[in-house]
């Protein structure tokens, strides 16, 4: 057999009996499927007796294994260990590891995702450009012609088919789990084809199109939870064989749905449908795609060495820990099976000192003019890199003198930590992307998406350090980061005040300062940066900024609830109704329109002169509500379920809407959202108080008085402090307006 040399990109990889199946997207447009006879390795240590038992198990296997003694480094102690390396056929690893784990001996590198482990060892990564040597369907050699840290890289040209449902005007906007279904629509190269006929005819057309177009990627909306599972089931019922995957031997692989609680919110994640030799990307079930588009997704897949389909669906924590494992593998550091590092014992008083987060100075409530905001760029990751904070460098045996301020932990000076080693290149790459997109040009959007992908990784890395399930987490390391963060902010406060400025508000890694027009902010920025020893950027200078009062106590401020307009006219809005996910679109628009009006104020001019114009805007919206010039979409309140509908004991308009939807047979999981309209808040019949958008069929019905009340609240959030207090009723609803919370739960 002749050896064929072909240049192309690693497109897909998955385990098979003989090794790894790789799909190569050739530069010439051809797609190759080859086998790489790779076998994964893992390591074991333990007492002589344990190792003898392990040897007996290994000898009894009916497949060949390779074993040998190797030297590897133990992460936490830094010591070199002699461990037994075992190599097995790829499909046998998990079962063998499970058997060996029964012996209670330390196992390393034994539970890594197989495809990721393959990439770590081979040194390539998803979408890496390589020169492949292929002989008789087997990969014999390859040469990497790519670098994951390259800022500019070439990507394969991929063909994409979009699969969706039509048939109703709400298609795409509503979760199809909650509403009626339509016909199949295929979109390829900008042309949409609606499939005709009954189900079996539509399925036949789908088969034909898939064969004819042979797309690299199938994108869907709700494909993970509804579309693909349903099509699969229908195909079986109608005895039509649909090859969703390119690899005809393999169908579709699935993973179940799940609900989990994180950062004070219940999140629902639909199941997944993976294809082989082809990607399925569900745009409604991918955080990365939603936040950064494919440019960011591909960037993460390349850097974290996670297959694209998986990278689209996994959490940032997963990609971060993959980067850490890749680093460990490359540097001969043993990767523990799961988290074994317990928190060190310490007296309660020490806990008290250490267990604090970032420093927050409550804002001074009111409207302020000429305020500068400075942000410490990636403060926490920067601290980890700069101060060498990593689980294995905290409280090392060798550097007791390198003490962390306030909390008394110390950090190693001799050994470079795993976490800083992984983060340093990300920080650097993000900074380069940021500089590139700020320079503008044709590639700016792509650079921005890639910078954003890194931003999410950096945002996450801190939390992950303290996460109890993180493989490389340790709570003490987490505490060192916040302690250094507080130190930076305190130094910044000192620097600002020493120069005669007044600190209005500070929030972990951002500070707001009252300035006089014409102050030398670059000089100030450099001075703070030097004293605080952390990179600082001027976010902008506000013409005006409003720190909103607490709803409970109107004289107290709330950290992170403010809105303001920069001198450039650009708005920054945080924590008010316009930013909340549950606020009806109508009120978001109202607030934005009012704020845009305020942003047009001339430098130094009195904001109160704009009040008549603002009231006119409010009056406009008021009339729209009264006269019915609104849509259900605009009025819908978004409700995020924290439990199953039947578990809600109190009848609120929200829970009633969820229950109505559940009553129609829709299964709602905690973390899913329901959108509904208030129809008659005080109706004696509970089901008439609110209605889910998905069940809204004949005409829109809504509670005018209630929506006017809500309008009043939203308007007041902006007008407070501009109109004389107590604010006179801006909107006069029929009857006496009661103050109601914006969230009914």
């Amino acid at each position: 057999m002749p050896v064929e040399k072909t240049e192309g990109w690693v497109f897909d990889a998955y385990p098979e009996r003989e090794g790894m199946r790789i799909w190569i997207a050739g530069r010439d447009g051809r797609r190759h499927s080859v086998i790489d006879p790779w076998r994964p390795a893992f390591h074991l240590a333990g007492t002589t007796a344990q190792l003898k038992s392990a040897a007996r198990i290994l000898a009894s296997l009916n497949y060949p294994t390779d074993t040998g003694w190797v030297e590897k480094q133990e992460l936490f102690s830094g010591r070199m260990l002699t461990v037994l390396e075992v190599r097995v056929p790829v499909l046998e690893r998990d079962a063998l590891v499970k058997r060996l784990a029964g012996l209670q001996l330390p196992l390393y590198d034994a539970d890594m995702h197989l495809v990721q482990a393959y990439h770590y060892e081979r040194g390539h990564f998803p979408l890496a450009l390589c020169l492949f040597e292929i002989e008789d369907g087997r990969l014999t050699a390859f040469e990497l012609r790519d670098d994951p840290w390259a800022v500019d890289y070439e990507l394969p040209v991929l063909s994409t088919m979009h699969l969706a449902l039509s048939g109703s005007e709400i298609c795409g906007r509503l979760d199809p789990n909650h509403a009626v279904r339509g016909r199949l629509v295929l979109t390829m190269e900008g042309r949409a084809y609606e499939l005709e006929g009954g189900i079996d005819e539509q399925l036949e057309s789908l088969v034909r199109r898939l064969r004819e177009w042979d797309p690299d990627v199938i994108t869907t909306e709700w494909g993970d939870s509804v579309l693909l599972p349903q099509l699969d089931q229908l195909a079986q019922e109608h005895r039509v064989h649909v090859d969703f995957s390119r690899d005809a031997q393999r169908g579709m692989a699935g993973r179940g749905e799940r609900s989990f609680f994180t950062y004070g919110r219940t999140i629902y994640q639909g199941g997944a449908r993976y294809l082989f030799g082809r990607w399925h990307l569900d745009v409604k079930n991918s955080f990365m795609l939603r936040e950064t588009d494919t440019a960011g997704l591909f960037e993460i897949a390349r850097i974290a060495k996670i297959p694209v389909q998986r990278a689209a669906r996994c959490t940032i924590g997963t990609s971060l820990s993959s980067m850490q494992m890749a680093w460990a593998w490359k540097n001969g550091v043993l990767i523990p099976m799961d988290k074994q590092q317990a928190e060190d014992f310490r007296p309660a008083t020490q806990l008290l000192i250490a267990d604090k987060g970032g420093l927050v100075y409550e804002p001074e409530v009111g409207w302020h003019r000429n305020v500068a905001e400075f942000d410490f760029t990636s403060m926490y990751p920067e601290m980890m890199v700069q101060r060498n904070i990593s689980p294995e460098t905290v409280n090392c045996g060798c550097c007791p003198e390198n003490v962390v301020p306030e909390i008394g932990h110390h950090l190693c000076r001799k050994r470079r930590g795993l976490v800083p080693s992984v983060l340093a290149p990300i920080l650097e790459k993000r900074a380069r992307y940021k500089a590139l997109y700020k320079a503008g040009g044709s590639g700016a959007a792509v650079y921005k998406a890639r910078a954003d992908a890194h931003k999410w990784t950096l945002v996450c890395c801190f939390g992950y350090l303290g996460f109890k399930n993180a493989r490389f987490g340790k709570i003490e390391a987490h505490e060192c980061v916040t302690a250094w963060g507080r130190e930076v902010l305190l130094r910044a406060k000192d620097a600002v005040e020493r120069r005669g400025y007044h600190l209005l508000h500070a929030l972990v890694d951002a500070i707001w300062i009252s300035i006089t027009p014409g102050a030398d902010l670059e000089e100030l920025r450099r001075a703070i940066e030097k004293e605080a020893e952390c990179p600082l950027a001027l976010e902008g200078v506000y013409e005006w900024i409003r720190y909103c009062p607490s709803k409970v106590d109107s004289l107290s401020g709330v950290p992170g609830r403010y809105f303001g307009a920069f001198k450039t006219g650009e708005l920054k809005i945080r924590g008010i109704a316009a930013r909340r996910h549950d606020t009806p679109e109508l009120f978001k628009c109202l607030q934005r329109e009012m704020l845009e009006c305020l942003a047009r104020v001339e430098a130094g001019a009195d904001l109160r002169r704009l009040v008549p114009a603002l009231l006119e805007i409010v009056e406009d919206y008021c009339l729209r509500i009264r006269e019915g010039r609104v849509t259900g979409e605009e009025l819908a309140i978004t409700f995020n379920l924290s439990k199953s509908p039947e578990e809600y004991v109190h009848d609120t308009v929200s829970s009633l809407a969820a229950k109505q939807l559940a009553a129609t047979g829709v299964v709602l999981h905690p973390g899913e959202t329901v959108r509904y309209v208030i129809t008659n808040a005080d109706d004696k019949v509970k089901d008439w108080r609110s209605k889910p958008l998905a069940l809204m069929e004949n005409g829109l019905e809504y509670d005018v008085a209630k929506y006017l009340q809500l309008l009043d609240r939203a308007a007041r959030e902006i007008l407070d402090g501009l109109v004389p207090a107590p604010a006179k009723k801006i909107v006069a609803p029929s009857g006496d307006g009661l103050e109601l919370p914006l969230v009914w739960d």
Binding site: K356, L359, S556
Partner: protein
Amino acid sequence: MQSLQAEEEAWKLFRRALRKEDQDAFDALWRFARYHAAPASMASRPMPFEAALMAMLVAIERQVMEMERLEKKRSEHAGGKDGGVGL
């Protein structure tokens, strides 16, 4: 912040028994404590109330100083216009 809330909660019955005008003063004290939450958290006292108390005292003293400053200004401009806090 969390412990501060719990601390305020623990004084709820005390507040309830106060006269209306004293309740306002009581609320003001806790507002002061919240305003100085950052320095209070830096203190890391085993009893959070100590830090809250110190925060209240600092804020009261600050008000006294502010009033003294205004009073001084007023006497300097004796017979003149009111000084007023410039916001």
